[in-house]
């Protein structure tokens, strides 16, 4: 019963390494065999035969990278542990053949692979009952689309809408601009059909005049409490779609355009209302407007108001200019813009509107607006196309104000929000004196999560997601944002986004039911286990988890919600007591791997451990191997699910064993983070900040431990990075613990 080690001698491995010596290492723990072409059918059959006749259930494959030949070495993860030792890309493709250093490297990797396999057990599946109902918050175009799409896929939805009616902003629009040909005609909004479909569906429950008062639990099994006209109601949901949309920027802040002072200055939202009445009239006296001027980017692309572009207003103003023309063919519309942003196929619409002789467009800047005695307006425009200032008389001026995420509570401005969680900084008295602390504001979701009541935002109140590649990955598993709440978008795009979020919600429910992780470790069935009897309530795990998995009891002991977990191991890295581990990934495992390697007891070349991210740094090393780049042979790479899993005990383990330095290679962090677990590499770097204490205790230089940010395609920078760190360590001299 147990371990089988299979060494492939192909792809240069056999010619470059002393295979007999490797076999001795492999043989220490059990069965060790070599094969000239292990990924061939014969090679795989050899392993299968050992599984069947020898009872091998832990398979160590010492061959190529774990990233290739996965279809050949595909053993049921619920029955077998498969550990890949990368002798090809990381050893023989990078190092000179038959060199003692190359051999030492291969032996260390094989030793570590054997330890990793010995310390792993296949995960025990944790399937669960789930509620196949999706909670959709918001009854506008996004929410209604999401609910209908969920239904069409065979699931149920509950829509919670704060107002008394479904339909949102779309319901308040007179017409919409065309998203397909013919582009010269405005179209009637399709929102009524959606409202009717939702209202008439037996699979969709609608709660109007309702707000979420509490969301507790985890994916597959949320307990939701709402306040419906003052009465409490509760229900279960399997996943949540946040589709609360946008709100208009408050035009009262735009004093430079006379809003609030001049009766005939209105916003684009008010224009919809006006147009719905069939005639475009002057608010001041009800007379038909003969000329309407649109001020684009009113308060947008402006640091003092809304720094971003709302991306829909150019199309909206083109549409509203058409309202003016349709209502009164003698009327004219002027659009003053910075850049006309009718992107993609909307260029067709822009062109169609340009063909209307009554629509005048000019790149320029509105310098000011004056009101005449009869309440007409004179707009002073710096026309950049003509290179001169113009005074344009208008009956009505429409301000194209922008979209603000509904994630923003009342009174909060997009350009002055607290980082990560929207809230207020408050001064708290503690035993260490006064400290300033963020108090997040409960607003929409009211999550009963230790990490706060709402999902984190990245900037301007738009929820954080794994932009660019994985736009639905919020930091709260099972909760997906869609529509204008997360990015300015029009109703076409909101509908697309709603369908995407509906897919993610359904997917999360199904994966949860099977005990499987969602993105990025989709399908992983391991779970962190907590030896709570040894917990010291330090709260590091609950604070550092990027996904808000862990709550706390009154004493500060972590309370698990396993189905929120993304299996990155950040909690494991955070825990100073080493009480958190997975069946196939643990602090002890890496500690034992470190112990298993032969640290040279002498020599001038520093011996270095590199803890690397398996998602980006590991493939970067593979590519270095593929390009036969020679790397410093005195490094040993240990891959982690995420650098967030780095436990500081490994650093003291390594250094006390005589390792000269430790380098962490992880993803970029900050606003443009690349870490697939959002905060893993950042948390690791913060933890490293605290390692000085350990180093001090060992009387070692703090620079012996460092972290670099390495993108997957930056393998070409590795030789230099590694050489520089090695040179720096040389300056400190050998680790004094060497040989102890």
């Amino acid at each position: 019963m147990g371990l089988g080690v299979y060494i492939c001698t192909d792809c240069g491995i056999g010619e470059s390494l002393n295979i007999e010596a490797l076999q001795k290492i492999g043989g220490k723990m059990g069965n060790c065999k070599t094969h000239p072409f292990l990924c061939s059918k014969e090679g795989v059959d050899l392993i299968k035969s050992d599984i069947n006749s020898e009872g091998v259930n832990k398979i160590v494959i010492a061959a190529c990278s774990q990233r290739v030949n996965t279809d050949n070495f595909d053993f049921d993860p619920l029955l077998y542990v498969t550990e890949r030792v990368n002798l090809r890309e990381h050893v023989v493709w990078m190092q000179p053949p038959n060199d003692p250093k190359t051999q030492a490297m291969a032996e260390d990797y094989l030793n570590m692979g054997v330890v990793r396999a010995s310390k792993s057990e296949p995960p025990v599946p944790k399937t669960t009952d789930v509620t196949r109902v999706v909670l959709v918050i918001g009854g506008g175009v996004t929410g209604l689309t999401a609910a209908l799409e969920v239904e069409k896929a065979g699931y149920k939805a509950v829509v919670v809408e704060k107002s008394a009616a479904l339909g949102g902003w779309a319901k308040k629009s007179y017409k919409t601009y065309p998203s397909r040909a013919p582009y010269d005609k405005l179209v009637a909004p399709s929102i009524d059909a959606k409202v009717q479909a939702v209202s008439g569906s037996k699979n969709i429950t609608v709660h109007l005049d309702s707000a979420i008062t509490s969301v507790e639990g985890e994916p597959g099994m949320y307990d939701v409490e709402i306040d419906k006209k003052g009465a409490k109601e509760t229900f279960k949901a399997g996943a949540v779609i946040l589709a609360t949309g946008w709100k208009p920027y408050d035009a009262n802040n735009l004093v430079q355009y006379g809003y609030g002072r001049f009766k005939n200055v209105i916003t684009n939202v008010q224009m919809e209302d006006l147009a719905s009445k069939g005639k475009i009239t002057r608010p001041s006296d009800g007379k038909t407007a003969q000329s309407v001027l649109f001020v684009q980017c009113a308060g947008q692309r402006d640091e003092n108001h809304v720094p971003y572009c709302s991306s829909v207003c150019c199309n909206v103003s083109l549409k509203q200019a058409k309202y003016v023309r349709e209502a009164n063919p003698d009327a004219g519309a002027f659009i003053i813009y910075k850049d006309m942003r009718a992107t993609g196929v909307y260029e067709n619409f822009y062109k169609a509107m340009q063909n209307d002789e009554g629509i005048f467009l000019a790149k320029g800047e509105v310098k000011g607006i004056e009101e005449e005695a009869d309440a007409s307006l004179i707009v002073i425009v710096d026309n950049q196309l003509l290179g001169k200032e113009m005074r344009i008389r208008a009956d009505v001026v429409v301000l194209a104000t922008g979209m603000i995420s509904s994630m923003l509570p009342e009174g909060k401005a997009v350009n002055s929000l607290t980082k990560e969680y929207i809230g207020d900084m408050v001064v708290k008295k503690t035993q260490d004196g006064e400290i300033e602390e963020l108090m997040p504001i409960p607003h929409i979701l009211n999550l009963k999560y230790r990490q706060g009541p709402e999902i984190p935002h990245l900037k301007y109140g738009f929820p954080d997601s794994h932009f660019v590649c994985f736009p639905y990955e919020t930091r709260r598993t099972g909760i997906y944002a869609a529509g204008a709440v997360r990015q300015p978008m029009d109703s076409y795009q909101s509908s697309v986004d709603a369908s995407g979020a509906a897919l993610k919600a359904i997917q999360c429910i199904e994966l949860t039911s099977q005990g499987k992780a969602v993105h990025p470790r989709a399908g992983d069935m391991s779970f962190p286990e907590f030896r709570l009897e040894s917990c010291t309530q330090c709260r590091r795990c609950t604070v550092e988890c990027p996904f808000g998995v862990l709550d706390e009891d009154e004493k500060g002991t972590p309370r698990e919600h396993p189905y929120r977990c993304r299996r990155c191991g950040t909690c494991m890295g955070a825990c100073p007591q080493r009480i958190i581990s997975f069946s196939n990934y643990s602090v002890d495992m890496v500690s034992q791997m470190l112990k298993s390697m032969e640290v040279p007891s002498e020599g001038d070349e520093p011996f270095i451990i590199a803890l690397i991210c398996e998602n980006d740094a590991y493939p970067a090393l593979d590519m270095a191997g593929l390009n036969r780049v020679h790397l410093n042979p005195n490094y040993r790479f240990i891959s982690l699910r995420c650098l967030g899993g780095t436990n500081l005990v490994w650093i003291s383990d390594a250094l006390s064993k005589g390792v000269d330095g430790v380098i962490l290679m992880g993803c970029k962090y900050g606003d443009d983070y690349q870490c697939h677990f959002v905060k893993g590499s950042q948390v690791a770097s913060e933890r490293l900040g605290k390692v000085q204490e350990t180093l001090g205790r060992l009387m070692l230089e703090s620079e012996r431990v460092t972290q670099i940010q390495l993108a997957i395609n930056e393998w070409d920078t590795l030789p230099k990075i590694m050489e520089e760190f090695s040179e720096k360590l040389k300056g400190f001299g050998p680790n004094p613990y060497k040989g102890f």
Partner: protein, 422 residues
Amino acid sequence: MSDEKGSSIVVIGGGISGITTAIEAAEAGHSSVIVERNPYLGGRVAQLNRYFPKLCPPYCGLEINFKRIKQNPKISVYTSAEIESVTGSEGNFSVKIKINPRFVNSKCTACGECVKVCPVDRSNSFNFGIDKTKAIYLPHELSYPMRFAIDQSPGACPGKSCSKCVPACKYNAIDLDMKAETVELKASSVVYATGWSPYDAAKMDNLGFGKVKNVVTNMMMERLAAPNGPTKGKILRPSDNKLVKTVAFVQCAGSRDENHLAHCSSVCCMASLKQATYFRESDPETKAFIYYIDLRAPGKYEDFLKKIQTDENVIMIKGKVAKIEEDAETLDPIVTVEDIVGGKKITQRVDMVVLATGMEPSLKVANVGTNVKLDENGFVDAESQAPGIYASGVAKRPNDVTTSLQDATSAALKGIQSAVRR
């Protein structure tokens, strides 16, 4: 759920949108099949150096996606495969695909011994012909599958008359007798994720592409800047491999133009701003000029535009480029622009010109074997398709990557709905 019914979602196109549609459906429990024309997955994004606005490498997201494919038994992948026909109706489509010979079988370990003996060079299509590979080649460093392929197009591998690579491969992975085969796939729905091709820049006479040597396209610029590209990430101009110090970006090269692409490709402004950013970062002694009609940096991308606007060595001029000529002696391109705001004509000499060529939908160029309905710009008109026929990503609309992925995820749901209705 759909598995018991034996139906799957066939996704045509293995670029980032197609991959995403297939994976998202599979992770929700429904089988999917990816059919890709190239011998590798990843499509256009695999060729990009970095994404805007994070300036991160597309390999990063591709790697995770390939990992998701590798560990998910519900996803099947066919590369070097073309669609012959799509027949049937929702819940019961038959998709005939032709798998073109790769001439390298699944025994390939990507060891690279074959390359050492191959005597023939081929133009490297992955790098838009800027460099060459051997006729037996690994498409790129993150190829999925990680296997070599042989190019037997005219002028490349002559086939069995050479055969030098065959004995060099000790795994018997090279099979020069490999023939195309036809496979019929059953599908409950078909998703067109056929993406786009860069618009042929040679069609714009006045912009000099193909005549003025130092005029390249924006996609070529990505390869020039990529660490795994033909110049190892050094931006060298084609005529003399001189390090480029001044560059002019010509926006809307073919886009927003009734004679070429009537639509706006929606990414080219941001792509040029991105390229100007990494170009400027490469060397403080550089200068970039951007000639545009409108600067379209919608939504939060505005921040990216604002940041680069603070760089005084990035000069943005609203104006249409009238012509690009070549200085016969230095081979420097000379750009003539109508400066609309300044109201004057400018001529600007630069080391290299980048044409921000737009996205031409692939189906517009080759809508073979399908009855998918396209709009007047050549994109799939989602609303007029037969039930069970969907589109994903740029096949449907010219969008950036993240918007395409929202669309791709929604297409996965549409596919599942077809399976459920079955």
